[in-house]
């Protein structure tokens, strides 16, 4: 069966959507990701959509569902790499992707995930805890 690959890296799951997905494939990805979060105890999910030429209401809903389900399962989702033309079209279509965290690229998305999990973004622990005064 046709599937979008999910890569496990440390406590994160990484997905890069490289094909024009039909609806069933999108639903399969949604199910696979939800199962993988539980199975691998992932704390974060990063979805790269930089190859997607369109995001219509169905794909938009899939992204929102994944974000909502991962939240319930104690994981964070970040969607990265949305093309400008896709963003313009999505907003005009009436989808604002409320509840979906986004970042411009994979690097910033990973920073967001690490931040959300309490580690300072892009900085190795050096004995000085920036949050110590909280």
């Amino acid at each position: 069966m046709e599937r979008i690959p999910i890569i496990k890296m440390a406590e994160f799951l990484l997905v890069s959507i490289q094909v024009d997905m039909h609806d069933k494939l999108a639903l399969t990805l949604q199910d696979d990701l939800t199962n993988q979060i539980v199975k691998s105890h992932a704390r974060g999910v990063l979805i790269d959509i930089s190859s997607l030429e369109i995001v219509d209401s169905f794909i938009g809903r899939m992204l929102a569902n994944i974000a909502a389900m991962s939240k319930v399962l104690d994981a964070q989702t970040v969607v990265v790499g949305m093309r400008p033309a896709v963003a313009i079209t999505l907003v005009e279509l009436g989808m604002s992707l409320t509840g979906v965290r986004t970042a411009l690229d994979v690097g910033r998305g990973m920073d967001l995930l690490r931040e959300a999990l309490g580690a300072p973004a892009g900085v190795e622990a050096n004995g000085v805890d920036a949050n110590a005064q909280d």
Partner: protein, 134 residues
């Protein structure tokens, strides 16, 4: 107004929806639509094609390249013989859905094109025509 090119495609499965998106993209590129205009038209086509599959029980789409000197455009006509839409005004409102969608399909698609026309009668099917000009 002259028809320069015409193409008919089946719209019966979720794979067909992908094929429609790709055919519309190819024609829009051929007409040198801007990237944003291509994305808007392909997204609108995807929404209507999905409706044809899910609610119309499948149908066909005619893709026409038109010239209305000095302008050129793409016109898409979707037709199914499904149950039809009882209340069109209601169906065009954001948030209206009889299925599992978000209800952004029809109203959203209308915002993404220059011309939008829909005809439907209960029991007789649905006919939707969209056009975008360059």
């Amino acid at each position: 107004m002259r028809t320069l090119k015409t193409e008919k495609l089946p719209v019966a499965t979720s794979e067909d929806v992908v094929a429609v998106r790709q055919a519309v993209r190819t024609q829009a590129q051929g007409l040198r639509f801007s990237l944003v205009d291509q994305t808007k038209l392909v997204t609108a086509a995807s929404e209507i094609a999905r409706n044809t599959v899910l609610y119309g029980g499948g149908g066909i789409v005619e893709i026409e390249v038109l010239e209305n000197s000095p302008r050129r455009g793409l016109r898409l006509t979707f037709e199914d013989h499904g149950p039809g839409i009882p209340d069109l005004a209601e169906a065009l409102k954001d948030g209206y859905t009889t299925g599992t969608g978000l209800g952004l399909g029809l109203g959203g698609a209308r915002r993404l094109v220059n011309e939008f026309e829909i005809r439907s009668q209960p029991g007789m099917g649905t006919w939707v025509r969209l056009a975008r000009w360059i």
